[in-house]
Symmetry: C2
Subunit: 686 residues, 2 copies
């Protein structure tokens, strides 16, 4: 989109100049370039063409509209097109368009996105089109850019299309007018011309990837290959999943040791589940308390160290994958961004402008209260549930009939219905709010949307546990609840993520997808479009976050948590990988420099865990008994706990400060880049 | 020092090539250029020369040594000299050297330091020597660079001098050998050749500055002029002092209102000072407690907002003063930095290298424990004092004689002696530790040194107060102590900072400094060297920090604190300004982008203040009585306080996050710069 703002090309879209490709029978979608629109720049014309993205059009779309879309895709960027190549499929009037991208468009977009690539010297350097000859492999764009990057660039170019002057989409009823600077792609989607767009799978590469990913007994994942094939967001998810899983090993070992060495822990857990109060010897008590304490202090320090080490790893991966210097703020705003047209003071391009303070105001005055309201509704629902349960029980005790035992279930049912309705409503509200905040960058939009939903979901999961732990102060119930949640959640997840997908694939999808090598390419593409859309990584991440929450917030209550989670996650990696490769359409995946808002979420959680663990320890009945025996007043015990908490938070902060967020050699590389660009700036303006 | 690493100039120092200036009678130090060494580059030779810095040599130094030093100063940077101009004073064999700097050296150093200057477009842009013609006023270096910057550059060039090969300083006994890459200036100071170096005052400018700074009734200070004359560190101190003073206005007004509206506060304060327990009505109690609460919550939010607003102001000042992009990490390391010689991976220059992890290890394993040890010694001293006092009192009660009443004073005396000895020892230890940490940048060195001393000093001041507040939980004593500290400290400060300096100046210094216009320039310079060295801003900053600490940590105990501080600071501005201008040698002042470690200190303090205020409120006896009356148990009151504290800290963190650290327009300028330099990098490598 580097010059989409220029108005120079007036001969662009209204009156197509390039040969309308649909006039002739287009023939099979092959890689030899026949049937494809010619690349707009001479250097990229000819040679094999790689199908990257499939557009699903509305069935029965007028020929002239489809031709117009193809022309739009193939027109040079300077003339207001996307600068890509398009193929109309075997039937010129069919409902798909296959899109590819010529080398120049890919390289220019790579510069615009701020991708780093290996320079002559071997260092990862922000790619520059002018300087392309000094980058390794820049000639062979299939090696230079990963498949995921190439496909993302196609999406980026298409979604960035803006009308250069008022125009009408041919073949559509009147009133479908595009005004100057309107986003064309959004309009096409809105009027239903484009029904979907997804990146095409490369069967050979996918096979190779899945072989070394989940089908064997590999202990590590082929992260670089995942990144190359599925792109940044997916690769970061799997990297974190792997990192986090292995980091569960130390607490799992500690949990096992504690359980074995102090048999009482086990016994106590049993006791509390059966709710029987068996008097245990004093010796055992001491052991249990000290076991709890070891577990709590360890898990606090552990969570800090893990998150800090992950930051280092994340920086390293971002460097390796060339996403350290993404230039999203300098490229075109995301399509739905709106505002008065003006000159961007930073880049000097004409684009919609929207003042940052207004966004902040909207967040502070609208979004935050709205989210708060919903969190309040969650709490109200919970309180209502408890109230209802108490009512139902007293009613049942009064009547004691069959009808009244049905009444006993009413509060639970009502609560579940209420929670689900609230969740659905909240999702809509969060979407509307984030849209209303009008973020300029796609990543900021995603982060704010994810953040909103995540806070709510998390609250929903944990409100009850916190209520039990800190308001009811009923540790045995908490332990019972936690154990059942851990086991049930894992079982449910395993079933929904491994068993059902396998069955669906085996008995429903596989027969449909019986394709032979001889099948025409187009049918294979159509087969891919029959797969369901990839639902996104939100549910995967939230699962990890909730796990991490169970573990770090309440770990001292149930020392075997880590063991259970470790076992669960080892299978989780495989089932997620299987899902990605087999059961869904391939998703687009933007180049990203990390996990975004999820990292913050994990950090916040590891902070809250210190507070939670301290208070759980304090509430531990044995500790309170001990205190009473040694004649310390309750108030003083609380004060000691407060002191402990503050001390541990301080240690945590110091620890987080001491572990640098980037490895030393990456810091050097970064400073090198800064130095070189500082010098370049000084030299250039002679 | 841009090419100090190059070994090209071999004809440099050992065999001076430039005309030895001491051969002829050098004549008066005048601005017309006579008597000065010629600038090493032709473009700067001739024209008026401005005396910038005075070097004080050892009396009776051999002529050849002085000549060698002058040659060293005047030799071009490429040949291993400082590239400056020197004047031997009126007596060729006298003990001073006056140093000036030619335009080219100044401009090159300005680029090396990363100073920003107004570009053709009006934006502040990192100065580039190649591009100098596009910068406003770059021809007239006296306008382009401030006096403080010019003087700092002289210091920077002199202190960066390194021997290009092994050499011997002429005129000194054998063994005074300099090895290759040794720092020459450190050696000259170590062997006593150079006894001192200070920037010269410009009497006219100083007069103009003081007129609009402190002699009238100005409400604001001429910050830009202060920055131009005294430089960055001093200007930032006075900016902060002013900002902080005016920000005391809201709490001062609130304090007055609370005092007036609830007369009981006053009465209670009186009561507690006289330690008489007068039963007050319940109505008054409520008012007092709510007054305390208002004060506490207000001061917590206030401290956050003030610090965040200061950050914005600080960024703005840094932009205005061109210090936003200081390139200290890319310039030469500070003189005392040592390590194995190697190639800096970032800049590619040969310099001592010292791995960062080793520095961190030294900090973690040596510095932190050492500082902790000293803090422990402070606490031990305090405990010893209390123990001693108790002993003395019981002794006195037993004996009750004149001798035993002398014994009563012993603990205090011992404690004061102990504290002072500890403080002195700690200063030495802190200096050694920071040197041992081997920081590369001057600013990092200063920050770590200041940080160490500051933690200790602060601990020293506040340990007793915290002990009274939280261990003894004796609020009346705390109030008494705080009031007396505030009043006594202010009185002492006013006397030491206003009265004594005035007296000294009037009766001791002024008669000596009776200089006439006709006096030779050199005598005026000598007069300046008779002033005492400027003691640095540490004591000024720590005074502010302790003030801020009294106020934000314990404000709810004594609501009139802010009023007292406001009055104090309004005079403080004037007395500090007077001190700067009249009573000390002018200090060198590096270009800085902010207050450095002091900002962190204020931030940390404003954090601790939330915790402190919450617990003080909790300890408030009225609140506890109220709790008991309404039948709430002590433990529950504590729990509510904990909840409150966590909530307030959360609000504080959100608030700090919501107020952006830089004004929007500066963010735009910064991003502009980043964008331009990104583009420059891409374009340059064609």
């Amino acid at each position: 989109m580097s010059s989409a703002g220029s108005d120079a090309g007036d001969g662009g879209l209204g009156a197509p100049q390039t040969k309308t490709p649909g006039e002739k029978a287009s023939g099979p979608v092959s890689a030899d370039g026949s049937g494809w629109t010619r690349a707009s720049c001479p250097c990229c014309a000819g040679g094999p063409v790689e199908p990257l993205v499939l557009l699903q059009l509305r069935a029965g779309l007028p020929r002239e509209t489809k031709d117009w879309v193809i022309t739009l895709i193939a027109t040079a960027v300077k003339q207001g097109g996307a600068g890509l190549s398009a193929h109309p499929g075997e039937e010129p009037s069919g409902d798909i368009i296959v899109v590819s991208a010529p080398r120049c468009t890919l390289l220019r977009a790579a510069e615009e996105l701020g991708l780093c690539k290996p320079y002559r010297t071997g260092d990862m350097t922000a790619f520059s089109y002018h300087d392309r000859s000094n980058f390794r492999d820049a000639d062979d764009v299939q090696v230079f850019l990963t498949l995921a990057e190439r496909q993302y660039i196609v999406k980026y170019e298409l979604e960035g299309l803006r009308a250069q002057r008022d125009l009408k989409i041919p073949g559509l009823p009147e009133g479908r007018l595009l005004q100057r600077r309107d986003n064309i792609w959004q309009k096409l989607k809105a009027v239903g011309v484009v029904q979907g767009m997804f990146p095409l799978n490369d069967e050979d590469k996918l096979k190779a990837l899945s072989d070394c990913w989940y089908s064997g007994n590999q202990l590590t994942q082929p992260l670089d290959k995942i990144h190359a094939y599925f792109g940044g967001t997916v690769a970061f998810y799997f990297s974190f999943l792997e990192f986090y899983t292995w980091s569960l090993l130390p607490p799992a070992i500690l949990g096992l040791i504690l359980t074995v060495f102090s048999g009482s822990v086990n016994k106590e857990a049993m006791d509390s589940i059966s709710d029987s109060k068996v008097a245990a010897g004093d010796d055992d008590d001491d052991q249990t308390v000290s076991g709890h304490m070891i577990q709590a202090v360890f898990s606090m320090l552990w969570s800090t160290v893990v998150i800090e080490m992950w930051k280092r790893r994340s920086t390293l991966l971002a460097y390796r994958w060339g996403t350290m210097q993404l230039a999203e703020r300098f490229s075109e705003p995301r399509p739905a961004y709106h505002g008065a047209l003006g000159v961007n003071p930073v880049t000097g391009r004409v684009e919609p402008l929207f003042p940052a303070w207004q966004r902040e105001l909207r967040m502070a005055l609208v979004s935050v209260p709205a989210v708060g309201l919903f969190l309040g509704l969650v709490v109200m629902g919970m309180l209502g549930f408890y109230w209802g349960e108490a009512q139902a029980q007293s009613l049942h005790a009064e009547w004691d009939s069959l009808l009244s035992s049905v009444v006993l279930y009413l509060p639970s049912v009502a609560h579940i219905v209420y929670t689900n309705a609230l969740g659905t409503a909240y999702r809509q509200v969060a979407l509307a709010l984030t849209e209303f905040e009008n973020h300029r960058e796609e990543s900021a939009y995603n982060d704010h949307l994810t953040g909103k939903i995540l806070v709510f979901t998390f609250f929903n999961y944990f409100a009850v546990l916190f209520h039990i732990a800190f308001y009811k102060q009923d540790l045995p119930l908490l332990r019972k609840r936690l154990a059942s949640l851990l086991i049930i959640t894992q079982l449910v997840n395993q079933v929904t993520e491994v068993v059902i997908p396998f069955l669906v694939d085996r008995f429903l999808s596989a027969p449909k997808r019986k394709e032979k090598k001889e099948d025409p390419q187009e049918d294979k593409f159509r087969n891919q479009s029959s797969l369901p859309d990839f639902p996104g990584l939100f549910s995967e991440y939230i699962e990890l976050l909730v796990q991490f929450g169970y573990f770090s917030l309440f770990s001292c209550v149930y020392p075997l948590t880590a063991v259970l989670l470790l076992v669960n996650n080892l299978t989780e990696i495989r089932s997620d990988a299987y899902k990605m490769c087999k059961l869904f359409k391939k998703p687009f995946s933007a180049p990203v420099a990390g996990m975004g808002v999820w990292q913050t979420a994990f950090e916040v959680l590891s902070f809250v865990s210190v507070i939670s663990n301290c208070w759980l320890l304090l509430l531990s009945p044995r500790l309170q008994e001990l205190g009473q025996e040694s004649g310390v007043t309750g108030t003083n015990v609380v004060l000691v706990a407060v002191l402990m908490e503050h001390l541990l938070i301080m240690i945590k902060m110091v620890l987080a400060k001491l572990i640098p967020d980037e490895p030393d050699w990456i810091r050097v590389k970064r400073e090198q880049n800064e130095f070189i660009s500082m010098q370049a700036l000084g030299q250039q303006k002679q």
